[in-house]
Amino acid sequence: MTVHSNFVSIRDVAKHFGPVRAVDGVSLDIAQGEFFALLGPSGCGKTTLLRILGGFEASNRGSVHIDGADMTVEPPNRRPVNMVFQNYAIFPHLNVRENIGYGLRSEKLSKEEAARRVDEVLATVKLEGLGDRGANEVSGGQRQRVALARALVKHPKVLLLDEPLSALDKNLREQMRVELRALQQQVGITFIFVTHDQEEALSMADRIAVMFDGKVRQVDTPERLYETPRSKDVAAFIGSMNFIDATVEGVDGDALIVDAGPVGRIRAGLPADGAPPVGSAVIVGIRPEKLALADSQPGEGANSVRARLTAASYLGERSHYFLQVDGMAEPLSIARQNTQAQLLHEADAGSELWLTWSPAAGIVLPAAG
């Protein structure tokens, strides 16, 4: 079987609700067998886009193709696509087996074949023996499995999941991330899921599309999205980030030299698409865990700045520190694993330290957006 990189092809799709542009010209290609995440804050249009893929909303513009077939105007019951709803939408008047087998009636299978398919998928989602339970007699985690099974039993080409883990409590949620990922690998179906939880997206997805205000801002693997965000918005949404305003001064080898005002002249990573022109304004982003603390000024090669500790918060396995650089509007945040390093406390506030980081840790972002 050839893997199509545009198994699901979304072209310039837009959806307006009155004056609100919920989805504003989105184009995406999703490969067969991919675990794809639509990530964004609430109201960014990710759920509307998912509902357009499922056929529950008609787009005002653009087209949707799945496995080569035009699905733009097909109703939900005529798409090779199934959905796991946020609240699971388990039919309360049917038991677990009847819920799972619900969608097989339209496939006109023999009784034996339908029962076999239900048994098979019950095993896939580890619900054997619970088939005769009533819909309201199973736990939240089991309800999610029922919803998954009910969709998977149809052997869809694409499975859509709307905030699949948001209804579960924290421990179960982390366990289900692993299970859902394993399940997707096992069945090999293309999964497209919507989430506002960046950790969820990073841990499960092959690729993530970050959406703001109805637009896709960046599509990348979790690692690239985290390490090389292409805009300030994306960088701030995925994890946390310190932003320093700077002006480009020149290039030195594989580093960009910038004048970062109060922080002084620093070296940052060279953007993949080349250095911005000298004199242009940029933003240098640095992840809190890539900043290190030192008692004395480090040697050449590393960036460093003198700063004063303003706050410390202890979070168990790690600590967050906030350090103020004279002349900067906001303190920089530093995250440090609580391994062997000496802990700083609230009582240490006011003490002067050196902040250091490698040039590659500085991500150069465009100043606007």
Partner: protein, 270 residues
């Protein structure tokens, strides 16, 4: 289980409660009591036990005809208004359309227009349209006042369950029509039963509109009213009243049982 050990009912509350129940039920219980009394006078002391009023009731042909008319009208009214109410409620709960709120408001209006005004208005309209008065005109008027009740019962039922259930059914390959029969209808059954019973009783004991719009065929309330002029016939009316009371009791018990059998609707997403 002593949940609220500190809270003690104020003294005299029990007495008040009993008095209240007596006030509520004693007048009604006079019906079966005097219907079994061997005298045409409704007065104490009771003169003796008899079932002859019931026997006489069964033999009174006009009464049975009126009862038949009432059942016919009420049954048609309950089915028609429940269908209309269900369709209306679906529109109100599942779609957003211009004029939705004003329409909901207008729906309540027949409930607050006094029956006597509505009766006169309908009578004028029927004679203007040249429709002869009959059980049909009574039934039409009853549909008019029963449909809002049916709609509100069905709105509260359909509002209670998640619209995602219908979407899930569409997603799993069912058309709009089969989704209605496999999901919406089964979940709406308790509401439909409640609506049928409510509109049936609404029509069954309605007097004013029937009074204005009756042709030659009387409904049961009209018949009972006509009999009050003849003291001789009063015990039979009481026997009839007792039967209706018993029937209502059975129907209400059944309705409550159905309601409890009904699947608890899934809560909407929070």
């Amino acid at each position: 289980m002593k949940r609220f050990p500190k809270l003690k009912a104020p003294e005299g509350l029990a007495g008040y409660s009993i008095l209240y129940l007596v006030f509520l039920y004693v007048p009604v219980l006079f019906l079966p009591l005097f219907s079994l009394n061997d005298s045409i006078y409704i007065t104490f002391p009771l003169s003796g036990f008899t079932t002859r009023w019931y026997a006489q009731m069964i033999e009174t042909e006009n009464l049975l005809i009126a009862l038949g008319n009432s059942v016919k009208v009420a049954a048609s009214v309950s089915v028609i208004s429940t269908i209309l109410g269900t369709l209306g409620a679906r529109a109100f709960t599942r779609y957003r359309f211009p004029g939705r709120r004003p329409m909901l408001g207008l729906l309540v209006l027949p409930l607050v227009v006094p029956g006597i005004i509505l009766g006169i208005a309908l009578l004028i309209m029927m004679s203007w349209a040249g429709i002869p008065l009959s059980l049909f005109t009574i039934g039409a008027a009853h549909v008019l006042i029963a449909t809002p009740f049916a709609t509100f019962v069905m709105i509260s039922r359909l509002d209670g369950f998640d619209a995602n259930l219908e979407e899930a059914s569409r997603d799993l390959g069912e058309s709009g029509w089969t989704t209605f029969w496999r999901v919406t209808f089964p979940l709406a059954v308790p509401g439909i039963v409640a609506s049928l019973l409510l509109t049936f009783t609404e029509s069954f004991d309605e007097f004013i509109l029937a009074f204005f719009l009756a042709g030659n065929d009387a409904t049961l309330p009209l018949y009972i009213w006509s009999q009050l002029r003849f003291p001789r016939n009063l015990p039979v009316v009481l026997a009839l009243g007792a039967c209706i009371l018993l029937a209502s009791f059975i129907v209400i018990t059944f309705a409550e049982w159905v309601r409890r059998q009904g699947v608890k609707p899934e809560k909407k997403k929070t």
